[in-house]
């Protein structure tokens, strides 16, 4: 198997049953696996809610490591819409020219540094660095903050030993508390200050609410962005012809971005809590249990995607759900898409060849199934 190949572990169950089952800290999950069922359940936010106990819709569940509600992520309509409207414009800034210019600088620098080094461990020395520096743009905070975030390592909630690490999560929470205090004392144009000055339904956002929005911004775009960048580098290392193709036809870059996001599906699935006895693909699910919307599985559904297990760079119709679907679709998608676009453009400009030296796969366990989601380490030579 090629190192940049990401198999679909869900095919058999998707075809035979349409759902999968896994346990997670004694709070089992029924996974919706088919494209249509995933969309249907995502759409039905009344039956499959996000506004449950904070941390419960995340898999692995974070109920034991946080009490704070991530906003608007763990809020249901109609309040969800009020929060969402508040932050929507801010999260569209990646479309602005000045934002793109700064993003290009960040990505160019990362490539220049890597080309100089030659041998690079992509996850820590490249993807984490780009992700962190790019996040300073999204939050509109000084570039120097990125150094602190890089020092935290690749996972905000995880450590080498355990999937969930409360100590590590606390580092992030304490840091955010401190930043919020700083912005209260001297307001600026950073995201914290903007939020602190904002109102929802005529009431100023509380510190807790601001914290909930900021935590989401940090957590949602860390592992996911790092995997998207790293997996793309691995792909191009093993597919030099694809580099040539995009060099000849740069208008395909946009299609390539969407196809990578579909194929890699950096976020495997997202949970919901069942509010009343219901069904997922004709399988009964009881109130107060959990289901998940398996984006990764839906994105390989042969009913929707021809040759689902192939990267088709110029896939023209690509209704993937890698950024979720419906009300709760990914708030950071504009940033992520812009970053991927700039990454590929810059790669085409600067890099002739990438070769993988060695790598260690990052494998997720979902009950009986295992899914490769990225790499724990990826050593490559840039030329």
């Amino acid at each position: 198997m090629m190192k940049s190949e990401f198999p679909d572990p869900f095919e058999k169950e998707r075809l035979e049953k349409g759902f999968g089952e896994m346990d997670d800290q004694n709070d089992p999950v029924v996974m919706a696996l088919r494209h249509r069922d995933v969309r249907k359940c995502a759409h039905d936010w009344k039956t499959f809610q996000s506004g449950a106990k904070p941390g419960r819709i995340v898999i692995p569940s974070e109920v034991n490591i946080r009490d704070i509600r991530q906003i608007p992520f763990e809020v249901d309509p109609p309040l969800h819409g009020d929060y969402r409207a508040l932050v929507e414009q801010w999260f569209k800034r990646p479309l602005e020219e000045t934002y793109v210019t700064e993003l290009k600088k960040i990505v160019k620098t990362a490539f220049d540094e890597s080309l100089e080094k030659g041998l690079v461990e992509v996850i820590r020395e490249f993807s984490l660095v780009i992700q962190s520096r790019a996040l300073t743009l999204l939050l509109n905070v000084p570039f120097s903050e990125a150094q602190t975030w890089i020092s935290w390592g690749t996972h905000v909630f995880r450590s080498e030993e355990t999937a969930l690490d409360a100590d590590k999560a606390n580092i992030l929470y304490d840091y955010i508390d401190q930043q919020i205090e700083t912005s209260i004392n001297s307001p600026g144009k950073d995201f914290y200050s903007i939020l602190l000055a904002s109102e929802v339904n005529g009431k100023k956002l509380t510190k807790e609410e601001v914290k909930g929005i900021i935590i989401l911004t940090f957590a949602g775009g860390r592992d996911t962005v790092i995997n998207a960048i790293s997996n793309t580098i691995a792909y191009f290392a093993e597919h030099p012809k694809s580099l040539e193709k995009l060099r000849k036809e740069p208008t395909l870059i946009n299609f390539a971005v969407e196809e990578f996001i579909r194929y890699f599906s950096p976020l495997t699935h997202m949970g919901r809590v069942v509010t009343k006895d219901a069904h997922v693909c004709e399988h009964a699910v009881k109130a107060d249990t959990r289901i998940s919307l398996n984006w990764a599985s839906a994105n390989r559904d042969a009913k929707v995607f021809e040759n689902p297990n192939e990267v088709v760079l110029d896939r023209k119709i690509n209704p993937h759900v890698a950024f979720g679907f419906g009300t709760h679709n990914c708030l950071g998608a504009t940033h992520a898409r812009q970053l991927m676009k700039v990454l590929i453009q810059t790669l085409l400009e600067k890099v002739q060849r990438i070769s993988i030296v060695k790598c260690k796969e990052n494998i997720e366990t979902l009950g009986e199934l295992k899914r490769k989601v990225g790499f724990d380490s990826l050593y490559v030579n840039f030329k």
């Binding site: 946009n254 299609f255 971005v257 969407e258 690509n318 898409r337």
Partner: protein
């Protein structure tokens, strides 16, 4: 050259002309409010959702099966819903009026 009229959710009207590409691209280039086209036109993000004014429905044509699927669970879907990235600009649609979905 086709003339295309957009009515945004705050009832502003924008009339644009074009002869190639798709409706979403035209709207994004001209900053039509409410049409974002986040996915660049691959039928994934549904941020280019429009309601075709009924009298122009035949000009726009039926959505493909995949497009229909994506619209099926959209909160603001109507029987005249289309994803504008899937409507090509051509003389056939000259004069069409589209209401931008919320």
């Amino acid at each position: 050259m086709a003339k295309i009229t957009f009515i945004t959710s705050d009832s502003e009207t924008k009339v644009l002309e074009a002869n190639s590409g798709n409706i979403m691209e035209l709207a994004v280039q001209n900053k039509v409010k409410g049409i974002d086209g986040n996915c660049g036109g691959v039928c994934s993000c549904a941020t280019c959702h429009v309601h075709v004014q009924p009298e122009y429905w035949e000009k726009a044509g039926e959505p493909s099966e995949l497009e229909q699927d994506m619209l099926e669970f959209d909160d603001n879907v109507s029987e005249y819903s289309r994803l504008s990235c899937q409507i090509k600009v051509s003389d056939t649609i000259d004069g069409i009026v589209l209401k931008v979905a919320k």
